[in-house]
């Protein structure tokens, strides 16, 4: 039972508490900033998302005011969590939904998938249909681990094995549909202390990149091997900006298990200053525009073929291009209505729909910031 809603899917992979919720919150906030004044809004598309993001924002503000920083929401996610955002030009039926799936790292092990088959299957389908994978990476774990004994624990703490597995499956899936875009973005987060372009003093970005390359080599390799055409980005992100690490300790619990505890503080004025999130939005916009252009490039065929194809995709009710076609068709519809109806309302609707287009183009045309590099 599908809606003919345009919905793009993004997978978020990583251990719980790496900051996926914070990343989504940051993306929403950043998008709102980028879209200001354009007539297009980015909103939380359902109550759950809205409440979670509000809660996240509130917790963040509270922590910033207190000065001692505990990094956002205190508890890790338990089950796969869906976020729904929407680009809304203000015209009904003209929304573009963006769905994100927070896929907790511990969810993957095959032997305990018994009992959650349907959940797992749903997740798997979602990931397979995602054209974007975001992999937040805990920069403080990478940079503050020096002892060899602890370096050995990093794959477990970062769930790199699970991430590699999911990414590989995704890449295989992507490779089956080579005409569709594929993007993986590795986003080091909590790394405000290692950059000096957002209020920090020291620049240790090179070392961070080296560490990342060492620890995530397997993941990157898996993606490249299975989906050679996929775009792989390394895009460090500051979701807060005014927070940095004070110190981090590896301590052994009474039961002999190593734990990692990082302490942060608010630096300078307690004002949020995001960095790098706009690059993610740019990447998303680029995909949408790319898809639209591709769809548009095929417009030179005759209309029936187009209509057929639209119907075909709609029937298939899956896949990136289905959504693209829906979008394209809606636009077309709006044009037709405007042409036919000649009234202000219809024109207004068309105008808004085109505004969405325009703003997406604009965002897609932006260059990536200096932190981003292709892998």
């Amino acid at each position: 039972m599908t809606t003919d809603q345009v919905a793009f899917k993004i997978g978020l992979l990583g251990p719980s508490r790496v900051g996926k919720t914070s990343l989504v919150t940051a993306m929403l906030s950043e998008a709102q900033r980028m879209l200001a004044g354009s007539g297009v809004a980015m909103v939380a598309a359902d109550t759950a998302t809205e409440v979670v993001i509000d809660g996240n924002r509130e917790a963040l503000q509270g922590d910033l005011l207190s000065g001692e920083f505990l990094h956002g929401s205190l508890l890790g996610t338990v089950e796969p969590t869906y976020f729904k955002l929407a680009l809304d030009p203000g015209v009904p039926d003209a929304r573009i939904d963006i769905e994100l799936l927070d896929f907790p790292g511990g969810w993957i092990k095959p032997k305990d998938r018994v009992g959650v088959e349907d959940q797992w299957e749903k997740c798997r389908k979602f990931i397979a249909a995602s054209t974007i994978l975001l992999v937040p990476v805990d920069a403080s774990l990478l940079m503050e681990t020096t002892e060899k004994e602890h370096l050995r624990l990093l794959p477990q703490f970062l769930t790199t094995v699970q991430v590699e597995q999911v990414a590989r499956d995704w890449a295989i899936e992507r490779n089956r549909r080579p005409e569709e875009p594929a993007l993986v973005a590795f986003c080091p987060v909590k790394g405000e202390a290692y950059f000096n372009d957002n209020g920090g003093i020291k620049n240790r970005s090179v070392l961070l990149r080296q560490r990342f390359d060492t620890v995530y080599a397997g993941v990157v390799q898996a993606v490249r091997a299975e989906a050679p055409k996929a775009t792989i980005l390394y895009a460090p992100v500051d979701t807060i900006g005014c927070v940095e690490l004070v110190r981090a300790d590896w301590t052994k619990s009474s039961t002999g298990i190593w734990g990692f505890d990082a302490k942060y503080r608010v630096r300078g004025k307690a004002e949020i200053s995001r960095m790098g999130v706009d690059d993610l939005m740019t990447a998303i916009a680029q995909q949408l525009i790319y898809g639209k252009r591709l769809a548009g490039a095929q417009e030179s065929d005759d209309l029936r073929a187009l209509a057929n194809r639209a119907a075909e995709y709609a029937e298939r009710s899956e896949g990136f291009f289905r959504d693209i076609w829906l979008w394209v068709n809606r636009e077309r519809q709006a044009r037709r209505t405007a042409a036919a109806q000649h009234d202000r309302e219809a024109r207004e609707a068309l105008h808004r729909v085109l505004a969405l287009d325009a703003v997406l183009e604009k965002i897609a045309a932006q260059r990536f910031g200096p932190r981003v590099s292709r892998l």
Binding site: G67, E68, K148, N196, I201, K202, V246, R247, K263
Partner: protein, 750 residues
């Protein structure tokens, strides 16, 4: 004349030095021979020859030579011609002195009956000065030289050692065995005792010399007068504190500038044991002696005591050939006693000169009380004679010393020759011994190489290990924990105190200065606390030295047992390698290099880690704009002080954390340092080649030298006889050579 004398002084002194060296070397040689004798490879019968026969006698001879030369030295270093005036009491010595020097009773007391002169005076002709310098006893010297002698004479077996003891000493009124001389001694002692109050202060002066005007001199140089002795008042005896007196004044007869007159004590007054001492003193002090005899009713002839005195003076003559050069007899004929003079003169001629006037001794006539007579009758002839004879006397003295020296030297050289023969017999035949030594040396080198290389490999494995060095990790953790505790404890003064101080400082200087001070303080403290790692570093390095030392000890037989381990052992080895006859400069350098190894936080690590503390600043340059930005700008309120505190704890924790990380991840860990050092050591010790700068033939040859020098310690019992090149043997040979050399020097200088 005096100048010429003076000019020969350096030679004499050089000779003395040489002979002193000889003495030292004899001692060294003796102990080296002892060492050699005790060496396990020396057979007992060979050992018998390894000694200096009649060692003590030889030393005594040398001592005597030195003494003789010292006398010559003293003689040559005099800057006046000294005339000694001697004679029994009441002979008119003092009068003569007065006549010569122009002084009066106040300075040179004379008197009719009792002996008056208590203190020996020396009077020097000085055109400018006119004063007396008294040399004082110290309490110790007084008790030791004066009182003790009395006690010994009196047969007391104890004597006071401090003034207080003396003060409270209980002298018996009578003796148990009252011999006449003892009784008078006791009486004198009691007098001295009773008069302590008068001279005590002088004894206790800080300066040992006292300058006194000539007008006040009498009390210091004369016995109390008869009258005062029999008075009821207590009798001062200030002379007791005086050792001797030197008087400078201008002699009336200014013909001879540099003239000195020494008043010698009446020889009967000397306590028995002091005679030889006195003789020595004479020899060193005077050029010529005048023996005065007064023609008076009581003493108109030459007595046995006089003969005794003459004999003693003769002893003082030493090497001077002619008795008559050294001693002149003076017949003092006071006015009105002319008739007595002739019989006396005749008696003297008979007794002393064998009936021939002037045969042995020259006799001068004078009236002591008349300066003119003294001048004409004594001084002029005397000085004229001296002018001719003094150089000859000097030469005779020197010749005498030379003779003694030559004799002793010959004796020593003979002894050395015998010793050398004995040494040769002890030495084993060379030849094939040398070959086996080379083999042994090579084997030693190879054995050491194996074990040392194993040590290097072990260290390398630790460096390359998958695990971090757990000891280093926990050392760093401990130090880090200490720093964090300090920070969390409110930077050592407590959170409240810190904040209160900050708030107060706000009031006076605003926030900037307090913050700057604190930041610097924090930076220094963090650096200091991390420097506590030095204990760990030095412990690690010492452990490495110990490991190396143990390997060396294991292979070096008996050579390195006994020493400690680690640094002590390596230091000893370095000394052994620095053997002058068989030097091993390359090996020595390798060992000293390992000894010098240091790893210190402050000098080696902190400079590398300094950047980690860069976060501890109040201001930094914004990388985006290039403008300076303040890290914290607190409000000037209590809340602001709290904020400042919280911020500082964050900055400090972050800095400490960064330092810890850098230490963990660092290139320079103790294991790396010790690995590199030991590897270098092994290279230098085992594998170094010939080097001109070091003067080294390379490690292989040096091992041979090493083996030769310490063959018997390295392989104890393996060889018979002492090897040539053995260190003890060498030492003896070296000393023998040196002795020859010194003796030759002495001969040349004389």
């Amino acid at each position: 004349m005096l100048d010429r004398r003076r000019a020969r002084l350096p030679e004499v002194q050089a000779v003395i030095t040489n002979w002193r060296n000889v003495d030292q070397q004899l001692i060294s040689l003796s102990s080296a021979l002892d060492l050699l004798r005790n060496h396990p490879s020396v057979l007992p019968d060979a050992a018998a020859g390894l000694a200096i026969p009649q060692f003590t006698e030889m030393r005594a001879q040398v001592a005597q030579v030195i003494e003789q030369y010292t006398a010559v030295e003293a003689r040559f270093s005099r800057d006046t011609v000294n005339i000694g005036v001697s004679g029994s009491a009441r002979m008119g010595k003092s009068t003569l002195l007065q006549s010569i020097s122009g002084l009066g009773d106040e300075q040179i007391p004379t008197g009719r009956d009792l002996p008056v002169t208590a203190i020996r005076s020396r009077i020097y002709n000085s055109p400018d000065l006119r004063r007396a310098v008294l040399r004082l006893h110290s309490p110790e010297s007084f008790l030791d030289e004066v009182i003790k002698a009395y006690h010994l004479e009196l047969g007391f077996d104890q004597w006071p050692t401090t003034l207080d003891e003396f003060r409270t000493w209980n002298y018996p009124a009578e003796l148990s065995d009252p011999k006449p001389d003892k009784v008078s001694l006791l009486a004198r002692l009691r007098d001295i005792h009773a008069a302590l109050w008068s001279y005590e202060q002088d004894l206790c002066r800080a300066e040992r010399e006292m300058v006194v005007g000539l007008d006040h001199l009498r009390q210091f140089v004369a016995y109390p007068t008869h009258e005062s002795q029999h008075s009821t008042d207590p009798v001062p005896r200030r002379y007791l504190a005086v050792r001797d007196a030197r008087i400078d004044c201008a002699f009336p007869h200014a013909e001879v500038d540099r003239l000195g007159i020494i008043d010698l004590p009446g020889l009967g007054e000397i306590a028995a044991g002091a005679e030889s001492h006195h003789v020595t003193g004479l020899r060193h002090e005077v050029d010529v002696v005048l023996l005065i005899k007064k023609a008076s009713e009581t003493s108109a002839f030459w007595t046995a005591a006089d003969a005794q005195a003459l004999k003693l003076l003769d002893l003082a003559r030493g090497s001077i050939r002619n008795r008559g050069d050294f001693v002149y007899l003076v017949v003092n004929t006071p006015k009105g006693a002319e008739s007595l003079a002739d019989p006396l003169r005749a008696h003297i001629t008979h007794q002393v000169n064998d009936g021939q006037p002037g045969k042995y001794f020259t006799v001068l006539d004078t009236d002591a009380a008349e300066p003119e007579s003294v001048r004409g009758g004594v001084l002029s002839p005397l000085l004229t004679a001296l002018a001719a004879r003094l150089p000859v006397m000097d030469e005779e003295c020197l010749a005498g010393a030379r003779e003694a020296a030559a004799g002793t030297a010959a004796g020593i050289e003979l002894m050395l020759a015998d010793l050398t023969t004995a040494m040769r017999s002890v030495r084993a035949a060379s030849g094939d011994v040398t070959e086996t030594i080379a083999d042994q040396a090579r084997k030693l080198r190879e054995d050491l190489a194996i074990e040392l290389n194993a040590l290097v490999a072990e260290l390398r494995a630790r460096v390359m290990a998958d695990e971090d060095d757990p000891e280093y990790v926990s050392a760093i953790k401990a130090v880090y924990g200490d720093v964090v505790a300090w920070i969390e404890g409110g930077f050592g003064i407590g959170a409240e105190t810190w904040q209160a101080a900050a708030f107060r400082a706000f009031g006076t200087d605003g926030s900037g200065r307090y913050a700057d001070e604190q930041i610097n303080r924090i930076r220094v403290e963090i650096g200091n606390r991390f420097a506590a790692l030095d204990t760990f570093y030095s412990g690690q390095i010492e452990r490495t030295r110990r490991d190396v030392g143990l390997i060396l000890r294991r292979h070096c037989g008996d050579l390195l047992t006994g020493a400690g381990e680690g640094t002590a052992l390596l230091t000893e080895l370095a000394d052994l390698l620095d053997n002058p006859r068989n030097p091993c400069p390359a090996l020595h350098q390798a060992v000293t290099g390992l000894l010098a190894l240091r790893m210190e936080y402050r000098s080696h690590l902190h400079p590398l880690l300094r950047p980690q503390l860069d976060g501890l600043r109040m201001q930094y340059e914004d990388p985006r704009t290039g403008r300076p930005v303040a890290v914290i700008v607190p409000e000037l309120t209590e809340k602001g002080a709290r904020d400042l505190y919280v911020n500082f704890t964050h900055l400090a924790e972050n800095a400490a954390h960064e330092v810890r990380k850098a230490l963990m991840a660092g290139e320079m860990t103790p294991v790396m340092v010790t690995y590199a050092a030991v590897e270098h050591f092994v290279d230098a010790f085992i594998r170094s080649g010939a080097s001109n700068e070091l003067g080294s033939p390379g490690s292989e040859r040096e091992f041979e030298r090493f083996a030769r020098a310490y063959r018997d310690e390295l392989w104890p019992g393996a060889y018979q006889g002492i090897a040539e090149g053995n260190v003890r043997y060498d030492r003896v040979m070296t000393l023998i050579d040196t002795l020859y050399g010194t003796l030759a020097e002495a001969r040349r200088a004389a």
